[in-house]
């Protein structure tokens, strides 16, 4: 379809390191506040006043830490803490096996012990797990002993005095090795005699609906038939590594718990503070509070949650293995000591978690000479280390292509590495998706964008005409997202002039020039969404006497300008001035639709729009008495209520609110009555559609002598449906590309093959890119309105990271003419591919 008259907008100041461009469309309604650059709300983050979890101080507060395992797999044989208990300043010493550390039963939908990636199950009593286990299954795992004392220094001294006798156990950190018949058993406590994760127990089906129940296979169509139809068949394999500085982000974990009277107060570093009951089994998320309640012996409603500022959150924080452990231990220690206790998890940045699944993927791909892929078969051994669940990595291949015949078989091994979790999730799926099309394009010598467009679809259906019908029926514009993002990005990269065959362009500086393209869909939150559960959600707006309004609704502040965007939406819809609206994010009595994770704004904009509209109705109803007019005859703009016919007849919101105080008591509540557009989509009714696309274009220079990949220019194009806040979108695009590039070619966790010990768990040797390592970025936001949310908007947080990590692979191939079969693409691996390493 033709795109007419699009308007180019550059809402942010020019910068040689980042250009942000918006492709807007004239048919879009003009908003007063939405889509505008407004001053961000939470300026405490700039002035040093924002308290993060470790900055909390309560009277009489104790500090606590735990020991971590020096071994990849070991069991505690004997613990001697006699010297520790008598040390001055030490208040409590907890040793593994203590009944106080035990979590029993399945409160509030909690599963059996299989579901605790952090715990240790008693094989004979699978319904019991321990917060601090006696068997460690990865190096760095919290284990054996925790100490609470007056100061962190006294805790450190006390932990040094603990004497432990270990029994070292055989370990395995390599996925391929773990699946061999004589492999050491990675996790003895599970009572299994193989390292394979049981697909039924892991319940992959509930996480990835198109995996058959009780199976680990994704299958569609007939692969054998598809391969026969193909003009050509190619086979290849890649190893995707875990390389992430995980643990949720940059701020080391800390949690404070305080049991007083009959209440439990918690301050924690968290991403999903409250329970989402229908969570994917094997990946328990957001269930911290029910466990905390049972440990403290208080009802769930008597937990008072405080959420300090959060030093970023890219995922993984929701998982019990990381986010919950400090909190649960703090609860136990507070109960035992009668004091508020802060647990400091010094290990958390590197030892708590790694990033997503690592895996060895083998591909068989059949395709026509025109680039149409007829069949894909993938075998993988993706693993999430210690955690049971691993996503097969084929979700995007299934979800956003026309490929009729595909099968993805995944054997998931347990290995002796930290549990892995989502971390700007989707990199593996994006690598798998792009590997198929990049290899096909390379084999055919075709432009990779032509191949992408040929295969772009939705669960095996082509975009045209199948999806056009659905779009029309559901009131979406007839737009082709992939076509539009490609068009914008290609131009920004000057692709046609720069493109060349693989290995064909050596520059005067001796380096190889390479171009890369990758694509994917917009990240969509999965089936654990509030819509799929019975989780109640609401938002409240309280009008204050000074005429301002406060949105109340709990969520975490992970740093996506959440306060700013939420206030923009409510102010827009209610007719208030942006500066008159604030967000109170710690209000325990109302929980926003999605706490702070993938698609946070996408989901929450639905309820916030509803809240703004209700607030406006309320204001107009009350004002109608004042004006002696019907509400329909009135309107609000910039916090002033006026008569439509006679705008000079006006009164401020402040006057109305202060004059009719009683009418506003209790606030205006929104309870999520709005239904999302397009949620009733075949063939996966629990899913929303994902028609939005993104594309990444990169230009690199590869030094054939040092193996270094210099990224010269990067163009990222995201269909965000609609921009709510340009500053926030540009920040997510830049941040995603930056993280993706780091994960693609500088960041890597190195394990000692002989002991399974992490060797570079420090920011000195784990190379997160600095400001000097990042290329110029052209960020382009395309607004198609194809999103499922209130303004046709969709998420952008995860996306650029995923394509950035994937796109470097094809660029390096284009530069040196060789595929790097292992990721990340560090100089070490580039030189290996060139026969020099």
């Amino acid at each position: 379809m033709e795109v007419k008259e699009r308007r180019l907008k550059k809402p942010l100041r020019e910068n040689p390191y980042l250009t942000f461009t918006q492709w807007q469309f004239p048919e879009d309604p003009e908003y007063r506040i939405i889509g505008k650059v407004v001053p961000p709300k939470d300026t405490d983050r700039i002035t040093g006043k924002a308290p993060f979890s470790r900055d909390i101080k309560l009277p009489g507060m104790l500090y606590a830490k735990w020991l971590t395992s020096p071994y990849a797999h070991a069991r505690v044989k004997k613990v001697d803490v006699s010297d520790v208990k008598s040390m001055p300043g030490v208040y409590d010493v907890l040793v593994c096996g203590d009944p106080d550390l035990q979590v029993e039963g399945s409160p509030e939908g909690l599963g059996v012990c299989e579901e605790y990636p952090w715990g240790q199950c008693n094989v004979k009593r699978p319904d019991i797990a321990f917060i601090l286990p006696c068997e460690a299954v990865y190096e760095g795992q919290p284990v054996a002993v925790a100490v609470a004392a007056e100061t962190p220094e006294k805790v450190d001294e006390a932990l040094k005095m603990v004497k432990i006798e270990w029994e070292e156990l055989p370990f395995v950190i390599d996925r391929d090795e773990a699946l061999k018949p004589d492999a050491p058993i990675a996790q003895l406590f599970r009572g299994q005699d193989v390292n394979v994760v049981d697909p039924v127990a892991a319940d992959l089906h509930s996480y990835v609906p198109w995996v058959a129940p009780g199976s680990d296979k994704c299958e569609r169509g007939d692969v054998g038939k598809g391969l026969k139809e193909a003009d050509r068949v190619i086979e290849f394999e890649i190893k995707v590594g875990t390389n992430c500085w995980g643990g949720g982000g940059v701020e080391p974990y800390a949690s404070v718990a305080w049991i007083h009277n009959s209440y439990l107060d918690i301050w924690f570093r968290v991403q999903v503070p409250w329970m989402v009951p229908e969570s994917a089994a094997g990946a328990p998320r957001g269930i911290t509070l029910p466990i905390a309640a049972s440990l403290a012996g208080v009802p769930l409603d008597k937990i008072h949650v405080h959420i300090p500022y959060t030093g970023a959150g890219f995922g993984g924080m929701n998982w019990v293995g990381n986010g919950a452990l400090p909190t649960l231990l703090a609860v136990v220690l507070s109960k035992r000591t009668g004091r508020p206790v802060m647990v400091l998890a010094d290990w958390s940045s590197f030892s708590g978690i790694t990033e997503e699944e690592e895996g060895h993927y083998k591909f068989k791909v059949g395709f026509k000479n025109d680039g149409t892929v007829t069949a894909v078969e993938i075998w993988s051994n993706a693993s999430r280390g210690h955690a049971g669940l691993a996503i097969p990595g084929c979700e995007k291949l299934f979800g956003i292509t026309t490929i009729k015949n595909c099968r993805c078989e995944s054997t998931v091994p347990y290995i002796n590495k930290a549990p892995a979790a989502c971390y700007k999730h989707g990199t593996t799926e994006t690598i798998v998706l792009n590997e198929v099309f990049s290899q096909v394009a390379a084999a055919l010598g075709k432009d990779p964008m032509e191949v992408a467009l040929k295969n772009d679809g939705y669960f095996g259906h082509p975009m045209h005409p199948d999806m056009d019908e659905v779009k029309t029926k559901q009131g979406f514009p007839l737009r082709d997202s992939l076509k539009e993002v490609i068009e914008a990005g290609k131009k920004a990269m000057d692709w046609d002039n720069k493109w060349h065959p693989p290995g064909a362009k050596k520059l005067p500086n001796g380096k190889y020039h390479g171009l890369g393209f990758a694509w994917a869909d917009e990240w969509r939150a999965g089936p654990w969404l509030p819509f799929a559960s019975d989780n109640p959600y609401h938002a409240v707006l309280y009008f204050l006497e000074d005429g301002t309004a406060t949105i109340k609704g709990m969520r975490t502040l992970i740093g996506v300008h959440e306060k700013t965007t939420y206030c923009q939406i409510v102010a827009e819809e209610a007719g208030l001035r942006y500066e008159d609206v604030e967000l109170d994010h710690e209000f325990n009595e109302a929980r926003l639709m999605f706490p702070a994770a993938s698609g946070g704004l996408t989901w929450n904009s639905v309820i916030l729009k509803e809240l703004g509209m209700k607030a406006k109705r309320k204001l107009l109803e009350v004002a109608s008495v004042h004006f002696n007019k019907r509400p329909e005859e009135l309107d609000i703009k910039d916090s002033i209520i006026f008569e439509r016919e006679n705008p000079e007849n006006k009164v401020t919101v402040r006057d109305i609110v202060s004059r009719y105080k009683a009418k506003f008591a209790g606030g205006v509540w929104a309870t999520g009555e709005t239904v999302l557009k397009g949620t009733e989509m075949p063939p996966t009714p629990r899913e929303v559609h994902h028609w939005g696309r993104q594309a990444a274009f990169v230009e690199v220079e590869v030094d054939p002598d040092t193996g270094k990949v210099d990224v010269k220019k990067f163009v990222i194009v995201n269909d965000v449906g609609r921009v709510i806040n340009p500053g926030s979108v540009a920040g997510q695009q830049y941040g995603g590309v930056y993280m993706g590039l780091g994960r693609a070619h500088t960041e890597e966790i190195i394990y000692d093959p002989l002991t399974g010990v992490k060797l570079n768990d420090s920011l000195t040797w784990y190379h997160v890119p600095t400001i000097t390592d990042i290329p110029r970025l052209d960020a382009i936001a395309v607004e198609t309105g194809l999103g499922y949310s209130a303004y046709g908007n969709m998420g952008v947080g995860e996306d650029p990271n995923c394509v950035a990590r994937a796109v470097l692979r094809s660029a390096v191939y284009n530069a040196i003419g060789k595929w790097i079969d292992e990721d990340p693409i560090t100089p070490f691996r580039v030189l290996k591919a060139l026969g020099k390493g």
Binding site: R45, I46, G48, A50, S349, T772, I774
Partner: protein
């Protein structure tokens, strides 16, 4: 304010008069206010400047992203006008020195604060204090920096959210404002 002491060295049986002595009192200025600490009482030899600022003075803007490894810049403060890592600076080593943190920079109404806001130059804010201090130190000694100079001055700070480009914009804007632009 260095008062030579005469302790400990007797234990090793050496005449103490030609030996190094422990400091007893440390005086330093923090954000323009003077403070005195007794070594062994208020602070210990292994107390870092970061601990002192946070635990004794309630200034918690210096953070601990790398957990004291010296590789993230989130604990950066200015010591006698130069950005240093407060997690690897000993409090006992700061006698007679002047410290500036982002709290002081904000209190003084420095244009960097508004510029960071205007340019969305922060996301989660955990690294932000360190960046602002490093930028302030740059603008103090070089009010008219080039982009390359800005990048170099900020190259010791890590931001995981990825606000680098916006931070460069913010520092440029602050420089313009300081020039009266």
């Amino acid at each position: 304010m260095n008062i030579p002491g005469e302790k400990k060295t007797d234990d090793i049986g050496v005449e103490s008069k030609n030996l190094a002595k422990p400091p007893q009192i440390i005086g330093l200025t923090v954000n323009g206010r003077q403070h005195i600490f007794k070594v062994g009482v208020d602070i210990q030899p292994n107390t870092t400047l970061r601990d002192l600022l946070k635990e004794r003075l309630g200034l918690y803007s210096p953070k601990e992203m790398c957990q004291g490894d010296g590789s993230c810049g989130s604990c950066t403060v200015m010591l006698d006008g130069k950005p240093v890592l407060s997690c690897l600076t000993l409090a006992v080593d700061c006698d007679g020195k002047s410290v500036e943190t982002v709290e002081g920079i904000a209190e003084a109404g420095h244009p960097l604060i508004d510029a960071f806001r205007n340019n969305y130059a922060y996301q989660c804010g955990y690294c932000t204090s360190g960046f602002i201090v490093a930028a302030k130190a740059l603008l103090d000694r070089n009010p008219n920096p080039t982009d390359e100079e800005i990048v170099k001055a900020l190259s010791g700070n890590i931001c995981r959210c990825g606000a680098y480009a916006a931070i460069i914009s913010a520092v440029r804007e602050a420089a313009e404002r300081l020039k009266g632009g």
